[in-house]
Each structure stands twice: as C-alpha cells, then as structure tokens.
Symmetry: C2
Subunit: 385 residues, 2 copies
Amino acid sequence: MRPEDFTIGILGGGQLAKMSAQEARKLGFSVLVLDPTPGCPASMVAEQIAGSFQDENKIFELAERSDVLTYDIENVNIKALKKIEKEKPVIPSSKTLEIIQDKLIQKKVLKKAKVPVPEFWGLNSIEELEELLPVVQKARKGGYDGRGVAVLRDEKDLDKALPVPSYAEELVDIDKELGVIVARDADGNTEVYPVVEMVFDWRANLLDMLIIPARMDNEITRGAQEIAVKAVEAVDGVGVFGVEMFLSKDGRLLVNELAPRPHNSGHYTIEACTTSQFEQHIRVVADLPLGSAELLTPAVMINLLGSRESRGRPAYLGIREALTIPGVYVHIYGKKRVFPFRKMGHVTVVDRSPERAIEKARRVKSLIKVVGDESEAPRGNNNGK
Amino acid sequence: MRPEDFTIGILGGGQLAKMSAQEARKLGFSVLVLDPTPGCPASMVAEQIAGSFQDENKIFELAERSDVLTYDIENVNIKALKKIEKEKPVIPSSKTLEIIQDKLIQKKVLKKAKVPVPEFWGLNSIEELEELLPVVQKARKGGYDGRGVAVLRDEKDLDKALPVPSYAEELVDIDKELGVIVARDADGNTEVYPVVEMVFDWRANLLDMLIIPARMDNEITRGAQEIAVKAVEAVDGVGVFGVEMFLSKDGRLLVNELAPRPHNSGHYTIEACTTSQFEQHIRVVADLPLGSAELLTPAVMINLLGSRESRGRPAYLGIREALTIPGVYVHIYGKKRVFPFRKMGHVTVVDRSPERAIEKARRVKSLIKVVGDESEAPRGNNNGK
C-alpha cells in the first residue's frame, strides 16, 4: 500500500469532508476536495479545487485526479457521477444516491424492503394536502436541516405549504428522535454504531443536544440498530450512512431519513467510539476492513451555531472557560463567515456518568457563543476567549 | 477568539508537527511550518515554508507570519529564537531550549534542582574516559535517537569513543526505561501523563514496544511522575516535554533526557488519554487551559520503521490485515523516502486487558513491514496491503 499515491476525491469541502480528510491524512492518503467556497474548512487539510457541485467539468476534473470519489453532501450532479462510475469507484454509488436524493422514492424503496417508515402519500397537487391534515409536507428534493419540511396541523397552516414537488407523510406523535450511523463495505459487511438520542430545539428546528447512548431499553436500541442496517441494505448502500429515526409515542420505530455520508449525529464517534465515522468512511473508500463501532464512554454532543444576530466573520466566545472542564472536546470548522444558526463547530463532552456528561454539556452550552463582526445588534462583542 | 486569525508557527515539519497541526486544525487555528523537505509530513495539514532550521532569514520569515513560535525538533538556531522572543512568544523559551540542547548543562541544572540523575563528569579530553570505565560517553550537543551516545564497557570499546565535545555518565544497570510526558503552562500549572515502559530493541538502539501503563508498583509510578514534573520545572519549561527516565536495578529513578516537545513515547496519548500530547501542545501555545491527562485504556505502541534493506519510496505491507484487529490505530506519516529504521509511522493498540494489548501489538508487528522501491535485496516487494 502506497497511501500517498492514493487520492481520495471528495465532492464538498465542508466540515464533514474536513473530518474525513483528517482521518485520511493520519493514514498518509492524499485528499482532494471540490467546493465552491475558497478556503473551505477541508482546505486546511486537503487540496481544494474551487467550483460548483453542479458543474460537470469541475466534477470530471476532481475525478480525473482521484482514485476514488466520495462526497459530503447529497445535492451532487448524478449524471456526472454516472459517467465517472464507468471508470472509477464512486462511494456510495450513483444508484444509491439517486434513491436517497428523492425522498419519495427513498420512502418507497424502504417500504418495499419492509423497513418501517411513517405512512406516506404521493401528491399530484398542493390542494390534496387539505384532506390529509394534520400532515407533514416534504419536498421531494433539496431538503436539508429542516428546510423542505412543512408541518401542517390545520387549515391556517396551509399557507406555509411548500411550492415545490413534494409528498405527504403522517404527522407522527414523536417520543424520541434517534440517529444511528451505519457503515457498510463492498462485501456487505456492516458495523452499526450506538443509538443516539437527538433532543431538539423546536424554535430553529435544529439539534439542541445529542445524548449517547439513547435513554431507552436495550430491546428498543437493538431494534433501532437492526432497522438502520436494513435501511442501508435496502438502498444497496456502500459507505457510511446517517439513519434518522423516530420512536413514536405508540412505540413504533420508524425511519425518517437517510444521509449517504457521515452525519452530524455521528460526530461524537471521534472521541467516544473505537472507530470514528470519519475513519470508517476512509476505510470503506480505501477498501480497508471496517473497524469496531464499540462505544467507549457515554457522551453528549452539542452543535456550535451562529447566534441569532451573528453576521460577518466569526468569533468564538467562552472557549477558554469551556476547555477547563475535563472531557470537553472543541471542534471549530474554520468557516470564514457566520450567520444565524449556521453550524460553525461542535463540542463533544465525555464522562463515565451519563448524567454528569449532560450537566457538563449544559455548562458548555451556556459558556460558548458564536458571534460575528457585522452583527446588527452587537452584544458587547469583546473578543474574549 | 478568532482561531483562523491566530497562526501557530512550527520549526520543523515532521510527524510531530503534523500531529500537533492536526489538533490545531480541529480548533480552526492556522498553522505554518518551516522544514527543509518539500512535501514534509506536516505539509498535508499546514502551510510549509521550505528552508533550513539554521537559516536565520527563514526562521524570521516564519516568525513574522506567526503569532507564536514553537518547534518539533531540538536543533534550532538559538540566536534567532532569542531575537524573535523580543517580539513574539516562543514556546518553550530559548532559555529552556539552551539548557536542554547541551546535555551536560541539562544534567547540571537538573542536579542543582535536586532532580535525581545518573552520576556524571565533565571531560576535558577523550583520554579521561579510560579511568572511568565502564562508562557512557555522551555528546554534549546533537544527539538524537541513540546517536551521540557511546557505551564503553572496557578498553576495547575505547575506539568507539565519539570525537566530539562530550561528557561521561555512570553506566546504569537498567531495570526499566520509562517515559513520562509533562505539560506545563505559563502559569506553572502542570499535567503529568501516565508512565510508559519502553522496551528496547538493542540491535538498533530504538524502541521495540511501548507499554502503558508501565508494569510497576503505584508508588514507583507516582515517584516517576513527581520527578518528571520537577525536571520540567527545573528548566523553567513551558510547553509539552518528553522526560526519559531509568529505573535502575538497585531501585533508583533517574532522569536520562528531556525533550522540549511532544515525544515519540507519547503518541499513545492520541487514542488512550483524555487529552493527547499534541492537543496539549496546542493548548499551551495558544494560551488555553491544560486538559486532563487521564489514561482511558491500557495501550501498546509500536513504531513502524523502515525495514533493514529499505530504500527509496516507501510501501506499507500488511496494513489491511492489521486493521481487522479491533482497537488498532495506524498512523502513516507521509514521508516520501524510506531508509533502514527510519520512523515512517506508528501503531497504537488499545485493549481493556493489558496482556491482550501486548498480544495484539505483537501480531501487528509481525504483520506490518515498511519496504522501499529501491531496496538492494528486494524481498518479493508485492505492494500487497
């Protein structure tokens, strides 16, 4: 094996690509990323080609200089990937990505493979939603982090309906939102990670805190892991996948979404598992054996989001004090600009005691704030650490 | 804190700089390294200035573009560092480095601070060695990894004497060779790491295997840690230090050498401790609080050295098979050329059971081989993984 002669090409140069590239660099591999933003996070640890994910020529340039292609985003040009696949491995495959990109097709494929999902209905027109209330409307393509999802409880909500090709899903009475990372190699071997409990901040429809392991019976945990593996097999997935699931109040485990890449809900794996999701990603694309997904310690992860009024160049307050707490790991992605609720970094907190881990995470959350130098209502932006 | 506006300048771009830079990148810091070899290991994750460590102009260029200067080697131009220190922090200080660079002065300073060291004598001429046999002759400056040390047991060995400024040390009857990493910040706070037991391959005078924690009584372990902290305080050390010690057969703990930087014997800290020595290094240079040095799991570390006949561009055999073993972490530094016994990477093995960790490490050692494409006696160099 000559790792420096093996180039891993990544479509997308954000924090996911950065963290995968970090693992690739540990093994001595070369990494090349395509991203429209010069100085993207991954460019700290990899070479960057600046260009759009829809630009076929740029994608071909990336492919030509790489030995394998992978991605850290979903919205890539599938036509270009299909052409490349004739010459080079693309992981996950364009076939898998095509299924996942269209959420209605994704649900149909999962249902056919007997993976439990919420009830869903195709829509010929937005008007059909009225009969289905209360219901969740989902854009078929392009949704990310809550965008492309409209929760419609009654007629008043109908003006929130999304004017895009969409479908409808049962409005599940959710007890817990769960995440399971699954890695699967070309031979069909799988490693399934612990189940994480995602606690939501409903105001912004983004993650508040992520607790590992999820606070549930072992039986339900095992059930969630089995379903997650089945979901990845259903889409012929090779690579690392983030499987988002619901535990409904009436006790059903239901798959909500698949992401064909390392996932935000898996960042805790860096410090808390034997093999991080990012190392696993590199192992699969470099055709190396899967590593153990064993959980080594309870953990809590929180995202560092741009604060509500933040704009411009970011500054991170409270880091110094947060770092006095043992078992606190701070990750700052290096994005050059901040805006409200943008994912600028994350913090993972580990502790032998799950309760103490949650306590420490709450403290970290109260300490750290991400502000910007062009904020409209600056709040004593003192550049303190 | 605006990490991207903070540049950490590192003199030296080898694997130590690479691993420190990796930690700096997690926090979003900028990193610049000075190294004579284009495409040095750290250049994968940092910007490189190509140049010599003795070239004042290059060192000034590095300093000008950095907010703080540190290093991953000892043999740097002290005069240049002293000039820079008037304007910018240099960590560790030139004063500390000056003491450490001259091993006789190092020993004198430690002895004065009541840190236990082997007996030692200054030498005015090489002839004085004859009266001291059996004795160890050490070059005052420039020694690294066994070079600059001559073990002289009887008159026959005198022709091995080093023709350089040197001093003499007691030939200690060694029971164990130990390593302790110590981090100390500008306020004098310290974090001391577990004691590691270094098992040597006497043929090459290099490490065979490193076992953590050292197999000794708690009392001796604590004694070693206290002595290590005292040694770093004796040289006014700020930063991360590798303290090499002996446990003699007559039960004395003696300091052998200090390294003013993260140390080979501390690589296990990446996976086995709460805060790796590299993250700790970045915390100190960026004036962040020290992290916990707690040991999370027993571990064994082995170096991946160029095999005896290796030359040219390296290839790594047996990696794939080694990675099937759970708890095996492979690090390949990315050096472009291999030669016999060159440090090309390392592997850390973790396991809840210390005995199993040693077993697994032996297996890994038997699996992995680092060869070169210009070897004189190629041994079926099949580029297998």
